[in-house]
Amino acid sequence: MPRPVFWKVGATDGIRRSQIAHLDRDRGLVVEARRDPTAFEPLYRRYLAQVYSYAYYELGDHHEAEDATERTFLFALSGLPRFQERAHPEDGQGASTFRVWLFRIARNVVANQRRGRRRHRWAPLEAASAVADPMDVEGRATDRAAAADAWAAVGRLPGDRRRAVVLRFVDEMSTAEIAGILGRSEGAVRVLIHRALRSVARDLDKREASFTPAELPGNPAR
């Protein structure tokens, strides 16, 4: 495990304040991989599931998600000499500029892949079953229905709202990181997510209103 890298920053409003900012937590691995490309593997292992999840939520298909993930990492490996660390103290502890850079690649790859389609295929039921716990037989039907509703509601969100929600909830990224990936300000990202949640709430309300009481998710008689 590489040691975290710290950096002294300061000088605001003429007062020289010393402050410890945590820079890219991947810096050690990135330096090593730039020196020797065969050392890229730890970075790949660290972010594989995150990149794959993002691609899967965006594309809704395992094969397409695999294609997008493969291209993302191959681009990242060959583009690594061009990566520039641009960490800011306000990115917060644990912020990784490598992760932001990697997800910018993933976003471009996935968007290009989606562009080739006539219409975005969203398969909430299949997708939900893929993440349901296979051992929990009793809870599976209810969980799958609830997950399918949630996935469908997210799938109906427009582009950047959907991406912001997936990055926030699935990849657990900070607003600053999402802003870096989507190329928007932090304030704009906060508003995107807030509006997305309101849309999802309205969508879920509509769905629940369309069920009879016996069909409501969570009803054991269902």
């Binding site: 050392a39 681009f75 997950a147 509006r195």
Partner: protein, 185 residues
């Protein structure tokens, strides 16, 4: 005091953001109680809780993970060998990549709805055009050569012999007509 709509939305978005921070942190430490501001919209809270419990991370198959690891190792070995073989300082790139892939402009999905900036289409079209032109020229030359070869090498099928005969007879008739006209003159 009432805030203008824009500021109000931003203020609400900030509250939502703080709530999400608490929600994600609570999930990490398996806590049940999540502190929230009473001004926060209950619908937003409900939707956030629903998404938090249902949007889980998806893992690829082990087979895919190992296959991609092998591909990356192979590509990395090629990159490492490139400078030793006289290439440009390890910069041999995937599929002719000579830019930062993260800065690549993209054209967004037209069905996405959000007014995101649309950049130039970044498919490497020039090599495709040059390749197409070369292929087209090569096909034209090959076609012309084939026609010339066919003309110089008459075949012996019955139909072609009949066509050649008819063509020759027409030529003979035209020539004899011309000679007859000259004789009359």
């Amino acid at each position: 005091m009432t805030l203008p709509i824009h500021d109000r939305v931003e203020a609400e978005a900030l509250l939502t953001d703080h709530y999400l921070e608490s929600l994600l942190a609570a999930h990490d430490r398996h806590a049940q109680d999540i502190p929230f501001d009473t001004a926060l919209d209950s619908d937003v809270r409900r939707a956030a809780a629903k998404l938090r419990s249902n949007l889980t991370r998806v893992h690829p198959s082990f087979r895919f993970e190992e296959r991609l690891a092998a591909s990356l190792a192979e590509a990395a070995a090629r990159l490492r060998l490139a400078p030793a073989a006289g290439g440009e300082s390890g910069a041999r790139r995937y599929e002719g990549l000579d830019y930062d892939p993260a800065d690549r402009d993209i054209q967004m999905d037209p069905h996405d709805g959000d007014p995101t900036p649309r950049g130039r289409v970044t498919h490497p079209s020039r090599p495709l055009l040059i390749g197409g032109a070369l292929t087209s020229a090569a096909l034209s030359i090959a076609g012309a050569a084939y026609v010339a070869w066919r003309r110089s090498r008459p075949t012996s099928s019955a139909m072609e012999r009949a066509v050649r005969l008819a063509h020759r007879q027409r030529a003979v008739r035209a020539a004899s007509g011309a000679i007859a006209r000259r004789g009359l003159d």
